[in-house]
Amino acid sequence: MNKILFGRYVPGTSFVHRMDPRAKLILSLIYIVAVFMANSWSAYVVSFIIALTIIASSGIAPKFFWDGVKPLIGVILLTVVIQVFFGVGGHVYWHWGILSITSDGLLNAVYIAIRFVLIILVSTVLTLSTSPLEISGAIESLFMPLKKIHFPVYEMALMLSIALRFVPTLIDETEKILNAQRSRGANFSSGSIMARLKKLVSILIPLFESAFNRAEELATAMESRGYQGGEGRSKYRVLNYTKNDIIGTIFMMASVALIMVLRNWS
């Protein structure tokens, strides 16, 4: 189970690490929306500087960010190629059948690639500096106003926490089932699609059975300890906004305002 890669949280004490997970989540989403609104070189340069500032204040090695972008380079390049050859508008440089290279198509391709990378970088800061359980607590707290319209916020948060806790357990169990099948001669990576499909279905049944049994054991344990819903329960980890959150919010609001000014100015 120790070898299982779960989440990408890198513990630390940097400025970003010490921020409240709610603030990190909201500010990341605000940044993503702002990057979508950017429509000029100057706005993208400002967005890039903001991303670099956030990365620097997270104190995490650049290698982690490269690891975040690397798996998606193929998708980014494919998107750029499609945008270059199918984008329309502006001066036409080349034209053949349905394919064409235009000035607007080229510009949009570059913008999309930059936007893609910037959003991945900031998402990576969020996931590297915030543990999945902190995210779960943040989502619960941010959804709390929906309690007024009877949205099951506590239940959703509990589901999130249990699911996050049991992903490594189920991965461990899957590995055991796969190894048991392999020791009987099953090969999951070769053969025709239908043959592979049949082999995969054979691991689904024990996995389903295991998930239901664990759920039943957990429910029994919770009930025997007197769990009666989330209403009125106290918390082990209490979230508090700090000075870092205020500084982070002011920085992000100023940056977004600048991007909006550059957007309208261009």
């Binding site: 945008q83 959703m156 249990i162 699911a163 995969l200 689904l204 389903f208 998930a211 957990l218």
Partner: protein, 184 residues
């Protein structure tokens, strides 16, 4: 209709733990049982099974919450790429559609086929196309969405068969667990 949207007893402790474990299973299935032809073209995937089972057994509210939870758990347990919570809306709508046709535990062939076709039309071709257009631009979204639609059409017969099989297995398991509880 009033019962259909009733939230009463949907989130009992046992239902909650089953949904949570199925959300975890969703992530595991995405990791171990997906066969890709290209990064954008999934040939075989079983991720839809837990969502369909939850929507069919526990109804629309459970399906909506499950969509949000499984999307969030999926991203934060294996965070590759950008975090775009807007995709959770697709999962929530897909589960709502499935619960309309499959709840409570109605696994008739026609119901499963209509539910999956509507998910393909409304979610894959509708909502996902909108999110992809915002993110990748319209030209790339057309390509990626076409690949996804072809993948869904190829998978449809397998999806229908597996939802029926695993839906019935899940229903029997829940009934067995209920019977065990009552006998204690």
């Amino acid at each position: 209709m009033k019962n259909f949207f009733s939230i009463k007893n949907v989130f009992s402790v046992r239902n909650l733990t089953i949904m949570a474990l199925l959300a975890a299973l969703d992530v595991v299935l995405a990791r171990y049982t997906t066969i890709h032809l290209t990064p954008q073209f999934t040939l075989v995937s079983f991720e839809y099974i837990p969502a369909a089972v939850v929507s069919a057994l526990f109804g629309p509210w459970a399906g909506i919450v499950f969509g949000l939870v499984s999307d969030t758990v999926g991203y934060f347990s294996n965070p590759v790429g950008p975090y775009l919570p807007i995709w959770a809306i697709s999962a929530m709508v897909a589960n709502l559609i499935q619960s309309i046709f499959l709840y409570p535990g109605k696994f008739d062939w026609w119901r499963i086929i209509v539910a999956r076709l509507l998910v393909m039309l409304i979610v894959t071709m509708g909502l996902n196309f909108i999110w992809q257009s915002i993110y990748f631009g319209a030209a790339a979204a057309v390509y990626y969405n076409s690949a996804r639609i072809i993948s869904n059409i190829i998978q449809l017969p397998i999806q229908v068969i597996l939802i029926r099989i695993f839906g019935k297995i899940a229903m029997r398991t829940v009934q067995r667990l209920n019977a065990n509880r009552q006998s204690i």
